[in-house]
Symmetry: C2
Subunit: 340 residues, 2 copies
């Protein structure tokens, strides 16, 4: 089989820096195929605080233009950049793909820029897992910088913050939803605010509103020796004219230094690995449950008798450990994935 043949030397091609092998590995990860997980381990064997910058904000705030401008800046510095555009809310990737194409035109001939959109296939929570796997692949592949951009709204903002080291929240003067977003708990997830389209009327008002909100939420005084908490800066930009992008990059670097000097970087990396482990456990347990429900007619009987899932769920859970122990670990990791 051609596909199997290709996959057998996927690891070799990936390690040799073949960008098509990277793209293929991400496709496998999206399908929740565990076969490329060995590639995710960083070559050093140490936890890499993957330098992930997350961009979020309402549609129409110019996130893509901003990311594009930042990519151009990083390229001038000689850095390689991978961008993942994700819409966790939508099973349809049309918008993201369109965005890719437009940006691909600009960076099409640059092998040091990788742009990929990821839809929300499969289970809820699946994207978040696929996204984290893809990020590990990108870091292991050797990209200097990974940028995660959300296309969706709502829940996706929180998703980005859960994955990114530095979360940039993008606002504009003309959407009028500034205050609403602030009320909605965006303050807690934003490490940096960008007021894009700062050439429009009203941008000063948005900056002032934000400043007011931030001062109300000001961190309390710390004792001696305790690192000061981060105060999110507010950066005005005009992404379409590349204005403010260097200031934005300086803020991102300052935040990264803050994370490292305060010990927060390591804390975050640990917390993320723990959360992700729980999600992987949930995913594997879900797969084993579906398997058990398909094989054991008694479980369906229990379900229909009860009219609720709880007793059957308990029964399955009690069996999961022994099923996992019986199989080889690698076999147990295999989800019931559809073919290539």
């Amino acid at each position: 089989m051609e596909a199997a043949k290709n996959d057998s030397d996927l690891a070799k091609r990936f390690r040799a820096g073949d960008i098509r092998a990277l793209a293929r590995a991400i496709s496998l990860v999206e399908r929740r195929d565990p076969s490329v997980r060995a590639l995710e381990e960083a070559p050093s064997g140490k936890v890499v605080a993957a330098p992930v910058i997350g961009f979020t904000g309402a549609p129409g705030t110019g996130k893509s233009t901003l990311v594009d401008a930042l990519v151009a800046l990083l390229r001038r510095q000689g850095k390689s950049v991978a961008v993942i555009a994700t819409d966790p809310n939508s099973p349809f990737t049309g918008g993201a793909i369109l965005g890719d194409r437009i940006r691909m035109q600009r960076h099409a001939l640059d092998p040091k820029v990788f742009i990929r959109s990821m839809g929300a296939r499969g289970h809820l929570g699946g994207l978040s897992l696929a996204c984290r796997e893809a990020i590990r692949l990108l870091v292991a592949f050797g990209f200097d910088q990974v940028i995660l951009e959300t296309v969706g709204v709502g829940q996706s903002e929180l998703e980005v913050a859960a994955v990114a080291d530095t979360t940039v929240v993008v606002m504009t003067p003309n959407l009028g939803d500034g205050v609403q977003m602030i009320k909605a708990g965006i303050l807690e997830i934003a490490d940096i605010f960008v007021v894009n389209k700062a050439d429009l009327d009203g941008h000063q008002r948005v900056v002032m509103e934000l400043r007011g909100m931030l001062s109300l939420n000001a961190p309390r005084a710390h004792g001696a020796g305790v690192p000061k908490a981060w105060k999110p800066p507010i950066i005005p930009t005009v992404a379409a004219r590349q204005e403010g992008i260097e200031e934005l990059w300086a803020a991102i670097e300052a935040h990264r230094m803050h994370l490292e000097s305060s010990g927060r970087a390591r804390e975050l990396a640990e917390k993320r690995l723990r959360d992700e482990t729980a999600e992987v456990v949930a995913e594997l347990a879900r797969e084993q449950a579906l398997l058990a429900l398909g094989e054991d007619a008694g479980l369906t009987e229990t379900l229909l008798k009860d009219g609720t899932p709880y007793r059957a769920a308990e029964e399955i859970l009690r069996g999961i450990g022994s099923a996992t122990r019986k199989r080889r670990p690698e076999a147990a990791m295999k989800p019931t994935s559809e073919p290539g």
Copy 2:
């Protein structure tokens, strides 16, 4: 403790038909508290094909007005109705709550109408589980009809279809997104199409476009004895003037009869219970994983050494069955929930 005291006779009050006990039980379910699960069992002990109608569609199509008109119709027939307005995409329930208030004014004095909005607290997938639990509570409480209305867009459409017996997709002539939505796979989930605001120009065009799409997707001919597949009807309505609501209700009833006569109702009920069981297993496994990660320092060491979650996840999964077996089943069902 007042709260504990109240909860101890919650079951009694729920069974006596106290609507505040129902509201409290749904709050507990939203918090993933398993203490009210016994209440979800239907009094008969048999699987109830909960008569759930799901409404979905883009914002601005008039879903709430349509649901409101349908509630009024059902009340004239003497039926009791529960409405759950859900926004799985948003952690913010502001919009839904506003909608509730407006509708509450109309139905505030009617004890046979229950309206409740549910946000997306907690884990992804959590809403869907909470939603199903809430529906079971509403059915067990004795409501004749449950209506599920989504506020969000995207993924939520698929969520509604996974929970509802009859999925109504609402469109309008003036949004111009008709064709896009159809392309996006809405055909597969719609049991009934409503073209609302049918007094606006262009509604005939939308109806014709839909008809064309549906005929392309026409089910193939069946042999003798095989029940004919359902062909989604297209119902024009002007919800704000109560026009077309009786036709909509007739279509919903026809669909329900189709489900029952074809045996599909029972199939769907079984499939839903199975899917939900797998989700409950995943939820419980996630909770046990977080517990294990908090207690076992060796797991964190493994995580940091690997830089990936997979080996630790396998280890946890192997332990889950025995941990579940050791505890009493009820204790194992308890999530690590915050206090009320």
